[in-house]
Symmetry: C2
Subunit: 482 residues, 2 copies
């Protein structure tokens, strides 16, 4: 922590000097000039653009970059990073700005590389069930592109995020229980390293034992080791039959217990999501739906007609044991889409309940055997603190979000939330879990890293960071203290 | 390559000095003495023990360690590594000695840490479908331990390897097509780092976005970044129904094409293995079986009774289109076990055909759309060269082994094999594949690393190696040039 503080002071001073008429300020002006030579009007220092690139979707305050570069090619990203490396300027990669832990905030200023114009689907190999996309392609854009191929890409975080951002954050979503997260579905990358080299990781083979798994190292590194510019992804064939359902439970605990038994019995459910009463109410208002305002599981089964029928029958039996009621099934594509869009909009629905609020999104994930207990204790804590903190969860993975909505002007409310979050993470870690199932560390969860991994493992991460980014220019201040 | 050569010379000189009456020799004697203080008679410098630990199962020549330590605990491994770090002595981790690319050879001498006595299953969490084992537990031992729980661990390389060795090599086997490789099935590790620190990677949560994925970095690092001492593994529930089959094809190409269509149609086959005529003949001799001596697929389907019946029907239709014949089904446990044991013994069956021979095992893996083409071209090459190189393959993953059996005294035969291997790897890489699907790099495939990954990506791997093992003591000479 000591080194970290010194470094923070150094970097803060550096930022002050950058804006003064000094050697650094000259360097800074020169850098912007060189970037403009490379990119023309695809470099912006306009306040509105910098503001738009200085925050994600959560409570973390705005921290603007000095300039935003809109890159079109791997080579341009490489050139930008090389210029930043020469001048020791921070580099922050930006996709759709939907991160939740302060990943895109320019903590020490610097250059934001916006990859949204790198939005080409480079190739689709139907025979091998894979594709290659540029980092700026969004998940909905990719599935739209694939719609006539009989294939789809399953990973679906709430927002319509960029695939690059999803890879960088090791994102997942509602389909992870059957199809895995970005960890399992990214098979290769193109990355621009901290020195501006362009490397390719992985091959198109489905498995390999050829050296260190750089793909998996960059997935989840949140731009702190390099900028991901292209991603090779696994695809899946659309199933013959899909059946979606909503089912009500007497409480979240029963829903979690029914989920646990479903997973333990090996029923290959594709999606199984809990939404508590408070969130169902918010969703009904926001999305103009009329779901019964009770603790609810949203589910989906994928397979052959016979397979899906078998899964549905087994799940019906299990959930009935836990007091489930009000089964509603949706098989038509448009009905299923409406159902899942409502689920995905839960966060925005929560914000709409308290206009002007921000959401403090928690993201613990625990072994499934501890899930019901973890949710129940968390609900008791929420009630005791009097928070508006509805729960939604990818319960098939043991991952749930209690999102505390609050007035950003209310300092004491925020202090109370931080304490709530601390207790929640402590509870999850004690159960063998993690502080973040899918949102990443960014700046917001840095404080939990040593509790989760231990000092020695965090030192290994810092050693890797220092080796691959010796001048700490790649998204500094995130994931690891340097 | 230049730096590499200098380092090799330095290390070679170091080895010479170690055996002289010099400062280094004194250090060496002192180290052995200190190890004996720690471990008593669990340190051996006996020639027979050192010989047994100086080679794997392939053609790579014997290179003995100076001493072998039989460790019992994480703390002992940590102490051994700390002593080696102080004296800059190489450390080689050893499980069952079944590696195929020279991974356990003591290229520069040093201390071999034999982990076979660390053979406890530490915990089985049936509710969460996971377990934790010490590195020396073998895959058969684990499944024997699990036999009354209704659970099993699917990853199954040919030999009865240790789980630690399998994790270190990123091994897979016949079940990978449905259940994944060690990459997907290791969820956490205990590792002793190059400085002797004990770290834990991962949690028991099924997913996490908390920082760099150290688990996946150590999986496949072949002991070059640290010694894996404990492994947290995913387990799977035994299926209601399992059906194994063998099916004959007119040639390997047809078998590969039938496999490709099976995978593309999303049939969740658990195992799908090709064995060519030459190998079936060898297996029949070695395992006293009477399989028809033709190019053959060995398969297995897992699921519910209805699900398996559906898969079998679909596969039957597909394979008939490719001229399949002689379907034989096995559903009883003992019949299936006999079938798979025969498949797993293929390598030993090949060795038995040519007594005194060694096997040069190739291991390319290509996108499944290129598999038939890759195998066909390789068969033509084998025929042209007049090699005895039967083919067996995890064709569901695009991975196949052509094993060239040869007389180790015949130098010209060996030169011919190296050229054959070079052409095979070049062919696979040109098709978007990898030089090794599951055997790892060791020393044998170091020469292919730059062709596969490119110089810049190999430099990233070297940077990681140098940062985490600055004195190059962890299994030096393997995976990356240092």
């Amino acid at each position: 922590m000591h080194t970290n503080c010194i470094e923070e002071v150094q970097l803060a001073l550096h930022r002050v000097f950058m804006t003064q008429d000094s050697h650094e300020a000259t360097l800074h002006r020169e850098l912007i000039g060189r970037l403009q030579d490379l990119l023309g009007d695809r470099v912006s220092t306009a306040l509105s653009i910098r503001e738009q690139h200085g925050r994600g979707e959560s409570w973390h305050p705005l921290q603007m970059p000095d300039a935003v570069c809109f890159a079109n090619t791997n080579e341009e990203v490489s050139q930008i990073v090389k210029m930043c490396a020469e001048t020791r300027t921070p580099v922050i990669a930006f996709g759709t700005g939907t991160s939740l832990e302060g990943q895109v905030q320019a903590k020490y200023g610097g250059i934001c590389i916006d990859l949204s114009q790198m939005d080409a689907v480079l190739e689709v190999n139907s025979d091998d069930l894979d594709c290659r996309v540029q980092a700026g392609v969004t998940r909905r854009q990719l599935n739209q592109y694939l719609r006539d191929t009989g294939l789809f890409f399953p990973v679906d975080p709430g927002a319509n995020t960029s695939i690059g951002g999803m890879a960088a954050t090791r994102a997942s979503g509602t389909n992870a229980v059957k199809y895995g997260t970005m960890r399992e579905n990214v098979i290769g990358l193109t990355v621009v390293t901290a020195s501006g080299e362009i490397i390719k990781t992985g091959t198109r083979a489905r498995k390999s034992s050829a050296g260190y798994d750089l793909t998996k190292l960059f997935v989840g590194s949140e731009g702190t080791l390099g900028v991901i510019t292209e991603i090779q992804l696994r695809l899946f064939g659309l199933c013959e039959a899909i059946s979606a359902a909503i089912v009500n439970f007497p409480d979240v605990r029963s829903a979690a217990e029914a989920t646990m038994l479903t997973i333990q019995m090996g029923i290959p459910v594709a999606r199984i999501e809990v939404i508590d009463t408070a969130y169902v109410r918010a969703v009904n208002q926001y999305s103009k739906t009329d779901y019964p305002e009770l603790d609810t599981l949203f589910l989906e089964f994928h397979g052959t007609h016979a397979g899906v029928a078998e899964q549905v029958k087994l799940f019906h039996e299990i959930s009935s044991e836990f007091g489930a009621s009000g089964f509603q099934w949706a098989e038509k594509e448009e009905d299923r889409s409406r159902l899942w869009r409502a689920r995905h909009d839960a966060y925005y629905a929560g914000l709409a309940v308290m206009p002007g609020s921000r959401g403090y999104v928690t993201d613990v994930c625990v072994p499934i055997s501890r899930l019901a207990e973890c949710i129940t204790e968390t609900q008791a804590d929420i009630a005791e603190q009097g928070l508006f903190a509805p729960i939604v969860g990818h319960v098939g993975d043991g991952n749930f979000h209690s999102t505390v909505f609050f007035d950003p002007a209310d300092k004491s409310a925020f202090a109370k939330i931080l304490e709530f979050d601390k207790r929640l993470v402590k509870r999850a870690l004690a159960m063998g879990g993690t502080c973040t199932g899918e949102h990443g560390i960014g700046m917001g969860k840095l404080k939990h890293m040593r509790d989760e991994h231990g000092d020695a493992a965090v030192e290994v991460m810092r050693t890797i960071k220092k080796a691959l980014d010796p001048h700490n220019i790649m998204n500094p201040g995130k994931v690891v203290e340097c």
